[in-house]
Amino acid sequence: MEKTQDMKQRLEAYLKSKFPQRAGLSVAELEWMSGGFSYETYFFTATWEEAEGPVSESLVIRMQPELGCIPPYDIRPQYEVLKRVHGTGIPVPKVYWLETDSQVLGHPFFVMEKIEGGELLYDAYWNQPEHQAQLTKEYTSVLAKLHGLDWQALGLSFLSVPENDRQCAEKEIAKWEWVVEDNQYSPQPVMAELFSWLKRNVPRAERTTLCHGDFHVRNLIAHDSQVVATLDWEMVGIGDPVSDLGWVCLFIRWLGFWTEADFIRSYEEIAGVKVNEESLFFWVVLAHVKLAAIALAGLKTSIESKTLDVRQIMDGNFSYMLQDLAAQMLGF
């Protein structure tokens, strides 16, 4: 409460100086939607006076976190990607501006439109059984379209671009191995063995595309049977599109919606490509390892940040559960 109250005052002062022509500008309904160890999201309503009367706009702030579990954080790539992807047919919120001055709200942030109505695709899937088939098709279709974008023409080469077809996987392995190394509370021999397998089985990427990095059903908003927004672009990059498929498969297994075979079949039909089975297997294993690494990072941050939410310390168990599933995939 204290945090949002202080932020409301600072935000109001900032908006007044940014839009001096908007008379009587005020901020209301500032709500902290997500917090913790990743980018933070706030909803708010800005109201001001125009000649025709009062005007209100619902907006969203996406901000670098105070306590991140996988630093370093940089809000700029998300903003730049959203700006460039908007208008390509991928449903994303329109971004308005980026503020890099940490003095304003404590950390750099950007402001984007609020998608009104709709619900998380995962909830829509269960709440609207009559739309399930269309929703899963939409879900796959957005991903296939995203992978089909000409990222070079869109000016996305500022994202780290792999130098060869093995580097897509090698860079991911290196990144998540570093996260484990940096966040382990005790040595992690199972993770060491999983990384050993991954390094010995690096696939060659058949395509290099824009990859969302976290394309799971809780990061999309659906309205009726349509996907209206794709959110949480913090792991966006240029890489092997099968990495996104592996991540989706992990969540299909975990959340029990749809089936992996139907998802892959649907993706192949829409994208017009054949997904390499060995490559998919590799990326599903890596997806488990990646989420296990994130959970270890969450655990360490939770311990070090002295949070008293004991539920977060259970992330350690979650990590072991994922390590166990990956180990079973590899036959041990």
């Binding site: 005790s186 992690q188 021999p189 063995e193 559960m321």
Partner: protein, 173 residues
């Protein structure tokens, strides 16, 4: 070494009782009970893992497999000038001798052996072209079986936690 996870969990639980739950309690008896539970958790925290039989078995499994890795590396005389092999031998020798000397406690021993196992996995990866395929394959299989044992113990503990949560919310009216 870092504090064992289970110790941290108990300490955090005690802290949550003291700082989150107790301030919201009003009844004198409830307050006293909660304070006693917090105090009990605090006293259990540093000791509970040392008494864990599973941890001893886990350590035993790791000692055994690390011994086999050491034996295999010693047997590779052709690699006697290989710095990676020699470094790994020194590391494993050190860890296993430390254990023979009597480690300070089971948790510390577990932490150190896990660290040595990570080193062994990484070292064998680097040496995989130099070691006979059969040796590599056999060592990897044995390492994986120790890892499976560890995962099964964790799964059993997780199951116990979930079972207790399910039962605690399933109280008849």
């Amino acid at each position: 070494m870092s504090t064992p996870l289970i110790t941290l969990m108990l300490q955090r639980a005690a802290q949550a009782i003291e700082q989150v739950i107790i301030p919201d309690l009003t009844g004198a008896f409830a307050l006293e009970e909660a304070a006693h539970i917090a105090s009990m958790l605090r006293s259990l925290a540093p000791n509970v893992e040392e008494k864990c039989q599973e941890l001893r078995e886990e350590n035993e499994g790791m000692r055994e497999v690390l011994g086999k890795v050491l034996e295999a590396l010693h047997g590779e005389k052709a690699l006697s000038r290989n710095a990676i092999r020699n470094g790994l031998i020194a590391k494993l020798d050190h860890e296993l001798k430390k254990v023979e000397d009597g480690p300070p406690n089971v948790s510390q021993e577990n932490h150190d052996l896990r660290g040595a196992l990570v080193e062994a996995i990484r070292g064998l990866d680097i040496l995989r072209e130099d070691l006979p395929m059969e040796t590599m394959s056999s060592l990897r299989q044995q390492i994986r079986s120790v890892l499976r044992q560890q995962l099964d113990y964790v799964a059993a503990r997780r199951q116990a936690v979930w079972t207790s949560l399910v039962f605690s919310t399933d109280t008849p009216e």
